[in-house]
Symmetry: C2
Subunit: 230 residues, 2 copies
Amino acid sequence: MMQYLPSHGYEFTNCSSIIRNLVYDHGGGDLSANSEAKVAAEAEAKAAAACNRHSEAERRRRKRINGHLATLRGLLPNTVKADKASLLAEVVRRVTELKKVAAELESTGMDESEGYYMIPSENDELELTYVGEDSSTKKIMIKARICCEDRPELIVELTRALGSMHVKLVRTEIGTLGGRIKCVLWVQVSSVTKDQGLQELRRALKVVTDRASLMDLPRNKRPRGSDTCV
Amino acid sequence: MMQYLPSHGYEFTNCSSIIRNLVYDHGGGDLSANSEAKVAAEAEAKAAAACNRHSEAERRRRKRINGHLATLRGLLPNTVKADKASLLAEVVRRVTELKKVAAELESTGMDESEGYYMIPSENDELELTYVGEDSSTKKIMIKARICCEDRPELIVELTRALGSMHVKLVRTEIGTLGGRIKCVLWVQVSSVTKDQGLQELRRALKVVTDRASLMDLPRNKRPRGSDTCV
DNA sequence: AGAGACACGTGATTC
DNA sequence: TGAATCACGTGTCTC
């Protein structure tokens, strides 16, 4: 650890301009009048004061900057002993990370969860959006936005439709209002191209939104509760 | 804009140690032998070289630090003209923001969406967790984790149960497997205390998980599709 | 002219 | 010893 206490007593007036002034005084002081010496002394004092203000301002500025750096040290883990450059490098890394995450949220529309977007509209809707490809897993992400009349079987139908594909339901958001339902699904599709994924998913979901009956299925596979009557 | 080109030619050797050496040379140089002058010259040259290395290293250090600062300027919007301190203040703000968002995701368990957590278990479950209070809106966030037998009316019942309370469904995640369903709800409750919110929500959701019949409701309020037979 | 911001070289300190 | 880091005061430039 370094401390850098002000061990050398630089506290006051170490300004070279003063020294310069002193030199000038020494050179021509003997011939000058008393008033001239006074003027010189005044000038010297003034310069010294200005110099002090300057160095003090610079001290304040440094303190401000280092204060922020200290704050960042406190914010980021394992940077207590890091030097300034390394600390800033780490900060750059984190901010980059933040930007990436934020951009991802933006592009997936995952920040649309509040309010407006989740309110069902009056018109039926089946909109698929290609979100992107995960660089590491090479899997395609597709966002599906569905809006239609609400009915109890809907969720089961959706689950069933997705289950028929090689997909992973990453996230679901559902909003209902006045008997209508809005459903946004984030689906991860593997091993297919973008167009294939969009096409297959659209076909699967269209079955649901078109109110396709589940009654074609064998009885023991039908969702419980939807056919308990009879 | 400031440029701070190296307008004053500080490029080489402005080390006061050299000046000091020169002063000493001037003081006792006349009486010394040639070899002594050589030694002095060597020492001077050595000191000058060391001094150069020092100032160059410092220059490199500054360059590294300022390089990171420039990177941060590029990363953050509207910081092109900001001075160092303001830039760092903005960086602190952003990193704090990042930490807050990350902590929120952590505490709400919103990062549990993948894999394990959304797989329904074999046992029924109704677990409510107090997530926290939004500092700005003063609203309570509760996470409800439900696991039970799947049935088509479930979602409608849930929606209905929540609709009977003054709550806002912020986020929903649903996972189904083998006829069972796991459902995690993030619910924002307003105008009640933590305990009130937990209690009311638990009562409302228990009705659902206990398979309470909806048939007590007036016919026109029953969810469509669940009672079309008769 | 006066305050603020920056780069610079330097001495002190640590490893 | 030497390399690296830091705080410091200073000169210079801008507004």
